[in-house]
Symmetry: C2
Amino acid sequence: MDVINAKLRESSYRLTGQRKAVLNVMLENKGRHLSAEEVLWEARKISPNIGIATVYRTLEKLASLEVLYKSMFEGNKYRYELAEDEKHHHHHVLCLACGLISEVSGDLLHELESDLDEQGYKIIDHELKFYGYCPACNKKK
Amino acid sequence: MDVINAKLRESSYRLTGQRKAVLNVMLENKGRHLSAEEVLWEARKISPNIGIATVYRTLEKLASLEVLYKSMFEGNKYRYELAEDEKHHHHHVLCLACGLISEVSGDLLHELESDLDEQGYKIIDHELKFYGYCPACNKKK
DNA sequence: TATAATTATGATAATGATTATCATTATATA
DNA sequence: TATATAATGATAATCATTATCATAATTATA
Ligand SMILES: [Mn+2]
Ligand SMILES: [Mn+2]
Ligand SMILES: [Zn+2]
Ligand SMILES: [Zn+2]
């Protein structure tokens, strides 16, 4: 939280009531992947008049500061999650039955990346998503 | 092409002029990743009155038959490519400078998948995207 | 063949997430 | 306090995709 505050100040972003609200929502949902709309409903419990535009703006700012990660899940909707610097670069498993999003921290992709390096590519980032059934849904069948 | 025809017949889909046009476009662009809009323009050279709805419908059908692969690239737009069964499950490298989409056929992800298997997951599919600079753009800097 | 049933098409409206606009308000600075 | 700057919320615009629906083409049936 102090780190986040520092990042905001560095970029001369004011920590307004609305931004505090959005931040609180994300902090209280550590580990969850929320859509802008979901953040809006939660944030309105703290800052009742906050508008969707401000939510989008704040989420974008926080993502650009790497306080949040932004990722597309349903194919037409972004979701945001708190970036915990420990598992900096993690990946996702999506359950095709219940929609559960779980995480994979292992990262054996560096071998592929170094292959690409040798071919002349400069790889900056990668994103991996597994699709399948979570343990609970897998048992039910 | 015979295979595709067979697949269509199996599903009792008529191979209409419009569908032939869309198919031709995809066949003549083997290896490229086209948006629905791009397919529309090309298809109109063959079937001038074809509408965007028919293009979407046809692309969806062909994707469900696994004749095409469908994948999101720009974050808000799907692209379709001919599914060549050789490199069945390939992955993508996106150049952040010129937008070039190249492909990675290596697949070291099975280790991650088997980890998940042991945890009770049933993995059906996965999608990996690298973001970075292609060799050409990488040199220019 | 004539007719009925099915499937496909194209124009256009609707949808839904995101972005842009703009007048108003809050905050910081001189 | 006056003034510049940043932030906000309502709402319109955008853009890809999907739904609707009347019409046309194809196939099955009598
Ligand atoms: Mn995550
Ligand atoms: Mn490809
Ligand atoms: Zn599940
Ligand atoms: Zn490039």
